[in-house]
């Protein structure tokens, strides 16, 4: 957590040049929160409730990762051997590159698109309610149902999406045979499914910008783009941090949806890390390598999230 800004965003900000009220206001703030270790009592319920489900599984997985388990009574300590094996495995490396590429594409499409939708969303009247409910709908569908919907929807023979591409656009599209089509189907599904989350967060962020900011911008004759770039975007940093982190970790661990739609195929075109992992863990029941794989996977997501988190909360200050 970084130093915070209080609400204030004083009316004084209104008088400031419209170009950078937010940044200017922030520079002068210091962390004025009192130091009080008794605050731990308030945090304790959270720690206990999360630790109950988090700590023991983590320890168990660590335990798996350093042993070769033949049977419940027969196991030998193998040290870091599994970690070395997993890190060298070309199949794991391939899946890693694929997953990273997928996450990058997801972020590059969903974040700008989500912000654009939030900017274009209605602001007054009944249409606000209708728009919010409709935009949120994809988020409320269980993930395996999302997979099922797209499995049908993208089919060339009986699904509207696949049928339209084949017959209206005249492009030959078949996600069960062509690896590019399969990739695009999974990507389109993710964009369909998760852009609404970014849009909702960004919309809530936009709504919290005090009106005087916009009036000031108007008086200064700022263009639409300048208003967006210098007033709206900086104020969205907080919600976009949440959005980017959530979208990164969830897309990097995507499992259910592609598993239902493509099952990782054709070939291994959409075999992401999580799909490969569950093949090793559940399919082959190789707990040692699967444990080591999980830990490396877990660690990578954490490190990258930490980098995102640090960069996003520091920039613009």
């Amino acid at each position: 957590m970084t130093e915070r800004t209080t609400v204030a965003d004083s009316p004084a900000g209104v008088a400031e040049p419209a170009t950078a009220p937010a940044e200017q206001a922030k520079d002068t703030r210091v962390d004025a929160r009192p130091k009080n270790n008794r605050a731990w009592w308030l945090v304790l319920p959270v720690v206990v409730s999360v630790a109950f489900t988090a700590v023991i599984p983590l320890m168990t997985v660590v335990n798996y990762s350093v042993q070769d388990v033949f049977s419940p009574s027969e196991r030998i300590f193998v040290g870091l051997e599994w970690f070395r094996d997993v890190a060298r495995d070309p199949e794991v490396r391939g899946a890693f590159v694929r997953t990273l590429l997928f996450s990058a594409q997801v972020l590059l499409i969903e974040i700008p698109l989500g912000v654009a939708i939030a900017v274009a969303m209605p602001r007054r009247g009944v249409s606000v309610s209708v728009a919010l409910v409709l935009v949120a709908l994809p988020l409320l569908i269980p993930w395996n149902v999302v997979g099922t919907i797209w499995q049908i929807f993208a089919r060339g023979d009986i699904g509207l999406g696949g049928w339209a591409i084949n017959n209206v656009l005249g492009v030959n599209f078949n996600y069960t045979l062509d690896s590019t089509d399969a990739w695009l189907t999974v990507l389109a599904m993710d964009v369909w499914h998760w852009t609404p989350l970014v849009a909702l967060l960004a919309y809530a962020g936009l709504r919290s910008i005090p009106q005087p900011y916009f009036q000031a911008a108007q008086i200064d004759g700022a263009s639409g783009w300048a208003t967006f770039r210098h007033i709206q975007l900086p104020r969205l940093r907080g919600v976009l941090t949440i959005a980017i982190l959530l979208r990164f970790m969830d897309s990097f661990m995507i499992y259910t949806e592609p598993f239902v739609v493509t099952g990782g195929g054709p070939g291994n075109a959409t075999s992401f890390l999580s799909i490969l992992l569950s093949k090793i863990a559940v399919g082959q029941f190789d707990l040692g390598p699967a444990g080591a794989f999980s830990l490396l996977y877990f660690l990578f997501v954490q490190v990258l999230c930490y980098v995102f988190f640090t960069v996003l909360t520091r920039s613009g200050r």
């Binding site: 605050a39 709908l137 699904g159 909702l200 919600v239």
Partner: protein
Amino acid sequence: MRRLPWARTVFWLYVATLMLPILWMFGMSIRPNEDILGSFSLIPGRVTFDNYATFFGETSWYSSYLNSIVYTSLNAVMSLIVALPAAYAFSRFRFAGDKHLFFWLLTNRMAPPAVFLLPFFQIYQSVGLFDTHLGVAIAHMLFNVPLAVWILEGFMSGIPREIDETAAIDGYSLPRFFIRIFLPMIRSAIGVTAFFCFMFSWVELLIARTITSVNAKPIAASMTRTVSAAGVDWGLLATAGVLTIVPGAIVIWFVRNYIAKGFAMGRV
């Protein structure tokens, strides 16, 4: 603020695109299976509500539907109860290890499920929470509590500390201040957080499926039943799919004004 002239059109076009797959699923739910697989047609030729009758006529279907509603609601309430004081602590005080604790909480959303699920099963079995609504609600706190703390903390940091101080001078104890004054001020935050907790718990399948068998089986897990020797019962599957959207749609209808108010006050 001004909106660009074509923004309205583009926005509603986007919404229409968003609705297409959902409408397609709805279309599937009201036609007989032969028509779904037979040939492509935009408008259902024969309309039937048999699938809906099947869904509500079979205990195993609608009871798993109720299971999901029970544990998601339980989860949202429990997540809020533990997250509210914690978010207050993060927004008002500095304490030893606060930054690390916050990031540790977040990391619990990042564990790849496949292998972590095995010990899950063992733990919940050994403490007697296996196949109970409470068990699923507690398990889902793993990923909902960190998010709840994060969102609530953002809202709370937007409320000036002077209010706390004034209340203390007026003789309010911390718990009384928190319940009587502070909570009503962050109503919208609670609405938004409850929505996100409900949503993430409702759509989660892997954990819920692992630690339940019959009594608390989630609706999403029941849906795999539609696959039988005779192939997939697409109509029934689509019906269950359509019905899984309903509770969430109701929840978002109630919290829509809170979302519209915005929660990016202050830091987050």
